[in-house]
C-alpha cells in the first residue's frame, strides 16, 4: 500500500465515520519499501489540491520521514522546485507500507498489513 492511499483511508467501522479521530489511520510497527518509479509530474501537480496536507504530515512523521513544511507547497512552488517534487513523489508514490498495522485513533482497532495488503475486514463485534 502506497502512502498516497493512506491519505484517503479511514476506519471501516461505521461508528467511526463521523469522528475526526478516525482519519488518518496511524501506522504502527511499519516496514516500508521504496520503489523506483518514474516521476509523473503532471499527476502530482493535479493531485496536490486533493492531498490532505495535515494528514500527510502526520503520516510522514509517524513513518520516520523528515517533517513536512506546515503548509502544502503551491503548484507553482512544486513546478519550479524539482527536489520538492521528487521528495513528494518519493513519499506518496514510491513508499509502500509492507508490514505492520494501521490504527484507528477513535476505536483503537488495528488493521494488519501483510505483504503490502491491509486487511480491513472487521471482526463481528465492530460491524
Amino acid at each position: 500500500m502506497k502512502v498516497l492511499s493512506l491519505n484517503f483511508l479511514t476506519c471501516a467501522v461505521k461508528a467511526c465515520k463521523s469522528s475526526s479521530n478516525s482519519y488518518p489511520l496511524h501506522p504502527k510497527d511499519a516496514e516500508l519499501v521504496q520503489d523506483d518509479l518514474e516521476v509523473n509530474a503532471q499527476l502530482l501537480l493535479n493531485l496536490l489540491p486533493r492531498i490532505d496536507w495535515t494528514a500527510l504530515s502526520t503520516t510522514a512523521t509517524e513513518l520516520g520521514f523528515p517533517a513536512l513544511p506546515p503548509q502544502a507547497p503551491s503548484v507553482e512552488e512544486l513546478q519550479s522546485d524539482e527536489k520538492k517534487l521528487r521528495d513528494l513523489h518519493n513519499l506518496l508514490m514510491e513508499t509502500q507500507i509492507m508490514e505492520g498495522k494501521l490504527v484507528c485513533a477513535n476505536c483503537g482497532h488495528e488493521y494488519a498489513v501483510r505483504e503490502g495488503i491491509a486487511n480491513f475486514l472487521l471482526p463481528s463485534h465492530l460491524v
Binding site: 500500500m1 502506497k2 498516497l4 492511499s5 484517503f8 483511508l9 479511514t10 476506519c11 471501516a12 467501522v13 461505521k14 467511526c16 465515520k17 463521523s18 469522528s19 475526526s20 478516525s22 482519519y23 489511520l25 520503489d35 523506483d36 518509479l37 518514474e38 509523473n40 503532471q42 499527476l43 501537480l45 493535479n46 493531485l47 496536490l48 489540491p49 486533493r50 492531498i51 490532505d52 496536507w53 495535515t54 494528514a55 502544502a72 513523489h89 508514490m93 509502500q96 488493521y111 498489513v113 505483504e115 503490502g116 495488503i117 491491509a118 486487511n119 480491513f120 475486514l121 472487521l122 460491524v127
Partner: protein
C-alpha cells in the same frame, strides 16, 4: 496510456503459466481432498437452495473445503426442506419456477457423483445448462436476516472467489470499453476507488488519475497488487494505481464525513449481495465515499435481460437470483486447443462470467480440473438498478444497458450534501476538499 503494453505483458505472463502447467500435477490434484470436496459441490451445486438458513453457522474462517462438505451433507435434507419453506415467500410465478428447478435438481443430484474430471460439468458447453439447473432460491433472499445473508455470501461468493481467484484472474485482463471510457473522462488528478477491483484490470487504465483498489477476496487483492503495483517496472508502472487491501463493500475504509474521493467504480460486484436491502446498502456505501455534488459512482451489474447471451436468461424465463457455476478447466487438452479456447475466452469476455481455462498450479491446488464452484448472482431487471440507486440516496446522471449488464452513473443527492457540510463545520483540520 501504457495500457496496451501492460496488457501484452499480462498475456505473456499467461502464456508462460499456461505452458508451465504440469499435467501430472493436475491429475494428481484430482485425488486431493479439495477436488473430492469440489465434487460434492458440483453435485450439491444444485442444492442451491443451499439455503442461507443452513449456512448460518458458517464462519469466515471455514475453508471452501469444509463448506463444500457441509453442503454435501445437507444436500438431502435441503431437498426436503427448501420447497415448503421457500414457496410461501416466493414471488408470484417465480415460485413455480423454483419448484420446477428443485425437482430438476433432485434428479440430477440423485445420480451417482461423478469424478470432477469426468463430470459433464467439466465441459464448457455444460456450463449454461448447469447454470439453469442451479437456479438459486430467490424468494427466500428477502427473508434472510443479515447474518444469514452474510453467511450465504461467504459461502456462495467470497469463498468461491478466494478459491478461483487465480483462474478467474487469468480470464480478466481486458477492461470493458465502457468502464475504460468512464475512467478516461475523469479530470486529471481525480482520486477514486475501485471497489471489488478483482485482479486490478482498471487500476492503470488512466495514468492521469489515482485509483485505489480493494477487494473482498484476499487472493484477488494480492493478484491485483502483483499485477499492477508490485510487479511493474519503471517503464510500465502507473504511479496512480494502488491496492489498499481487503475490504467488505458494506464496510469500506473510505469516505464518511471526513474524507471523500472524486469517484468510485464498482463493476460486477453489487449483484453478489443476496438481499435487496444489502444491494441498496452497497450502493449507499459507494455514495458515502464520494464528494456530494461533484463525486460520481459507476455501478455495473448483470442484467436479467441477456437473451442473446450464451446463458440465454431473459425476463419471464429466468429467476433473478441464480447460482452460476464456475468450472475449473481440465488441462488435458493439447496446446493448440488450449490456445484456441483462450482466444475464444477473450472474445467472450464481455458476455460471460464463467470460463473454462486452467491457468496455473495454484488453481490446480485449490480445485481439480472440472471442479465446479457456485457463485450467487442477482440478475437486475430493467429499471431495478436505478431504483436501488435512488433509494440509496443517489441522483442518477446516466444509466443504460451494455452487453448483458445494466449500469448507472450517479452522485450523492443534494440534501445529503447539506448534512455533510454541516458535519464538516465541526472539524478544525484544514482538510482540503477543493473542487
Amino acid at each position: 496510456m501504457g495500457c496496451a503494453g501492460t496488457e501484452s505483458g499480462m498475456e505473456r505472463r499467461l502464456d508462460r503459466s499456461e505452458s508451465s502447467d504440469d499435467p501430472s500435477k493436475l491429475s494428481a490434484s484430482n485425488g486431493s481432498p479439495s477436488a473430492v470436496a469440489a465434487t460434492a459441490t458440483a453435485a450439491a451445486g444444485a442444492a442451491v437452495g443451499s439455503s442461507p438458513r443452513e449456512a448460518v453457522t458458517l464462519t469466515g474462517e471455514q475453508t471452501a473445503h469444509q463448506q463444500n462438505q457441509r453442503e454435501g451433507q445437507h444436500q438431502r435434507q435441503l431437498m426436503h426442506d427448501i420447497v415448503p419453506n421457500n414457496s410461501p415467500a416466493s414471488t408470484g410465478s417465480h415460485g413455480t419456477a423454483i419448484r420446477e428447478r428443485q425437482d430438476h435438481v433432485s434428479s440430477t443430484t440423485g445420480a451417482p457423483t461423478n469424478h470432477p474430471g469426468s463430470s459433464p460439468n467439466a465441459d464448457a458447453g455444460a456450463d449454461a445448462d448447469s447454470a439453469i439447473a442451479a437456479a438459486a432460491a430467490a424468494a427466500s433472499a428477502s427473508a434472510m436476516d443479515t447474518n444469514a445473508a452474510e453467511s450465504y455470501e461467504q459461502q456462495h461468493v467470497h469463498s468461491v472467489y478466494e478459491t478461483i481467484a487465480s483462474h478467474f484472474s487469468s480470464t480478466r485482463y481486458k477492461p470493458w470499453p465502457f468502464v475504460a471510457s468512464f475512467l478516461a473522462s475523469l479530470p486529471p488528478g481525480s482520486v477514486g476507488l475501485d471497489v471489488g477491483c478483482g485482479n486490478g484490470k482498471y487500476l492503470d487504465v488512466n495514468r492521469d488519475i489515482v485509483i485505489i483498489g480493494s477487494d473482498r477476496s484476499a487472493n484477488l487483492a494480492r493478484l491485483a497488487r502483483d499485477l499492477k503495483v508490485k510487479g511493474t517496472t519503471t517503464a510500465t508502472a502507473t504511479n496512480g494505481a494502488d491496492v489498499a487491501g481487503v475490504a467488505d463493500g458494506l464496510a469500506l475504509p473510505f469516505g464518511g464525513a471526513r474524507r471523500r474521493v472524486d469517484f468510485a467504480i464498482c463493476i460486477a460486484v453489487v449483484h453478489h449481495l443476496s438481499t435487496r436491502e444489502r444491494r441498496v446498502e452497497g450502493v449507499r456505501a459507494l455514495l458515502d465515499c464520494v464528494r456530494p455534488r461533484s463525486g460520481k459512482i459507476l455501478v455495473y451489474v448483470w442484467a436479467l435481460e441477456q437473451g442473446t447471451s450464451r446463458r440465454g436468461w431473459d425476463e419471464g424465463t429466468a429467476d433473478q437470483d441464480q447460482l452460476v457455476p464456475w468450472v475449473m478447466k481440465s488441462n488435458n487438452n493439447n496446446k493448440k486447443s488450449k490456445k484456441q479456447k483462450a482466444k475464444e475466452q477473450e472474445e467472450r469476455e464481455q458476455e460471460e462470467q464463467a470460463s473454462n481455462k486452467k491457468e496455473n498450479d495454484e488453481a490446480a491446488a485449490n480445485g481439480g480440473a472440472g471442479a465446479t464452484y457456485q457463485r450467487y448472482y442477482h440478475l437486475y431487471r430493467k429499471g431495478e438498478l436505478e431504483e436501488d440507486v435512488q433509494v440509496a440516496g443517489g441522483e442518477i446522471l446516466g444509466s443504460g444497458y451494455e452487453k448483458d449488464n445494466w449500469w448507472v452513473i450517479a452522485s450523492p443527492k443534494e440534501e445529503e450534501e447539506g448534512e455533510e457540510e454541516g458535519k464538516r463545520e465541526g472539524y478544525t483540520s484544514p482538510s482540503i476538499e477543493a473542487r
